[in-house]
Symmetry: C2
Subunit: 374 residues, 2 copies
């Protein structure tokens, strides 16, 4: 019962090698993780490479030309087959893509006994049918695990904290937070307790130049990213309203103002951005008169039975006004136990390294569960 | 590999029925936990009771007279024997006492294959010899688990977050926080960004009357509780300075002023408390002139190689001045990845229900690890 545990490197396939995928690769190849995991595949959206290489070992810097030269066309199904029949199976499939197709395969992957870790929000925030199929194919219904800590708040312990609260019988009353690093930055710059008169369009352009926004800033300003995170959280709360279409069922306020809704390309939108300034100036002015700032927030209000992504006004001495800086996320859990003051978690909620950390810490937890055999 | 998991209630002994122990009992007997755990013993410092009862089931309200009537003298060794040979072993031993003796038995308990969950800081914050013996007898060296999430920050995810940071290869630069709910309350009332002239002795008396302090407030004001929490955190960081005597090796500023150090009883101390006011008035005045507030903090500074519990001055716009309320804890993790802004966790860090939640969420994690057999 107390015999020492033979280190058993868990076989892993990493699919998706964008910024987050590369940071995951880097963490997996470095101590303290390199002894626990055996990378048997890496892949981008086109090609995959079976490992180990016959020649020199893979590093975080040499993989790109090697994949280009020796890779074969990506075939997710055969990667899963290899993982599920590997001598050290069960393995872990990391979906670090932005794909909508791969999450559709999660139930099949799980039913083949392969665990999944992913920062991809789409599997958990789309239709309820897919979400249910994923749950049915995973723990506690089966022995196979699917972890997505980094889908909300990147490396911040948001989902694990919510699970702990729910599983120990606390009653969630309200979750409220700034869930988008991009929108956090934009509003922290645009609307400050001490005032200021910078234009909304200027802040959006600076955020875009700093690389804080998607290539088309409307992808952030639409609120969809926040709505996806809200559906992921909401589905972990038994008393939460059902969201049959996931994020698409969440009332979501778009920050693309009426006057700009007819811009057909991102170029036209960016060019005409200043046309929306009057709208945002007015919002900030109204809030200022009440001693408040403007923030784009996600709210899950269990008493009201509402899930919403929207603009909100917060008093100048509220944590969303005073404590929030840069592109940080801040999330407050109001519960029966954490009352009258909420449990609050704050910090970088986006960025390759911290998102990768959310992924690799999930992997450590799976490794522990796989190696604690009684 | 993907067969459904037969629910296997894990046998549990709960020793210690003070405020936290009673809240643990209440959580364990209620959904969603009552199906996962099988309470086979409850005990206070004198008596233990073997369960289930022949007659009516145990409830959070009927246990006290039943234990009094049917209990037998407490014998920890025989409780452990029963847990380790139970048909559903391995079981979990909950040490919810303030004992120094039971933590000395952890290595033995673990080596008998019994998992431990505890809010008792003493096993992890005393001598390095004991700490090492506990580690050697537990995972990953053996299959047996010892979890103590609630020893720091109660139900707040402090230890688990630090473990995630360390295990995924982040570099901790500094951990800084207000770790004592009692001292948080006292200084949040005594030293405010907007000023104020309440006396230190008055605030201590109010805190005592509200039940926020130990019966002898010097137990809080000595800083020992903070020093214990710092040693627990520090020992999870590979690059941290060694603390051979645990909390006793941590430089700790006492808040019992020089002039009161000769008070021999708590009654005398409380009576003479106002003699220390001049000292604290001066501290607050000095801080105020610099635009700062006074807080009692714990600091682990890896760059300086220092672990300290001390009074610190923080600018009026610092989170420790603006965001901290009531008796909340606030802990900031400055790391290579979380830079320049730290990862911050805030909320109630003391209280029976939230401390019990830290215990029962550890138990859920052990339950998951025991039931994920491949």
């Amino acid at each position: 019962m107390s015999a020492a545990i033979a280190p058993r490197p868990v076989p892993v396939a990493l699919v998706g090698l964008g910024g987050v995928g590369r940071a995951i690769l880097s963490q997996l190849l470095s101590p303290p993780l390199s002894n626990r995991f055996n990378l048997v595949f890496i892949a981008n959206s086109r090609q995959s490479l079976s490992l180990p290489l016959p020649a020199s070992p893979l590093t975080p810097t040499n993989y790109a030309p090697i994949l280009e030269k020796y890779g074969t066309p990506l075939d997710v199904t055969s990667i899963i087959s290899v993982l599920s029949t590997h001598p050290d199976a069960p393995g872990i499939f990391i979906d670090s893509t932005g794909s909508e197709i791969i999450p559709g395969m999660y139930p099949q992957i799980l039913s083949m006994g392969v665990n999944i870790v992913t920062p991809n929000k789409k599997g958990f925030s789309s239709s309820e049918a897919l979400y249910k199929a994923i749950n049915e194919a995973s723990y506690p219904n089966t022995r196979t695990l699917v972890y997505g800590e980094s889908t909300v708040g990147a490396g911040l312990p948001i989902l694990s904290t919510l699970k702990d609260l729910v599983e120990t019988g606390d009653e969630i009353e309200k979750i409220e937070g700034v869930f988008s690093g991009t929108l956090s930055y934009i509003f922290n710059e645009f609307s400050k307790p001490e005032g200021g008169n910078v234009k909304f369009s200027e802040v959006v352009k600076i955020a875009k130049d700093k690389g804080y926004t998607e290539p088309d800033p409307r992808d952030d300003l639409s609120g969809t990213d926040v709505a996806r995170k809200l559906s992921i959280l909401s589905r972990l709360i038994p008393t939460s309203p059902s969201l049959p279409e996931g994020y698409a069922s969440v009332p979501t306020e778009s920050l693309v103002p009426e006057v700009l809704s007819n811009a057909s390309t991102k170029e036209e939108y960016l060019e005409r951005l200043a046309e929306g300034d009057e709208y945002f100036d007015k919002l900030r002015e109204e809030a200022g008169k009440e001693g408040k700032v403007v923030r784009y927030v996600g709210v899950i209000d269990l008493k009201e039975g509402k899930v919403e992504a929207k603009l909100g006004k917060y008093p100048n001495d509220h944590a969303f006004a005073t404590a929030l800086k840069g592109s940080d996320n801040i999330i407050s859990f109001h519960t029966k136990r954490y009352s009258p003051r909420p449990l609050v978690i704050q910090g970088a909620g986006a960025g390759a390294d911290v998102t990768a950390m959310g992924v690799t810490s999930d992997m450590v937890k799976i490794h522990e569960r796989l190696t604690t055999r009684i």
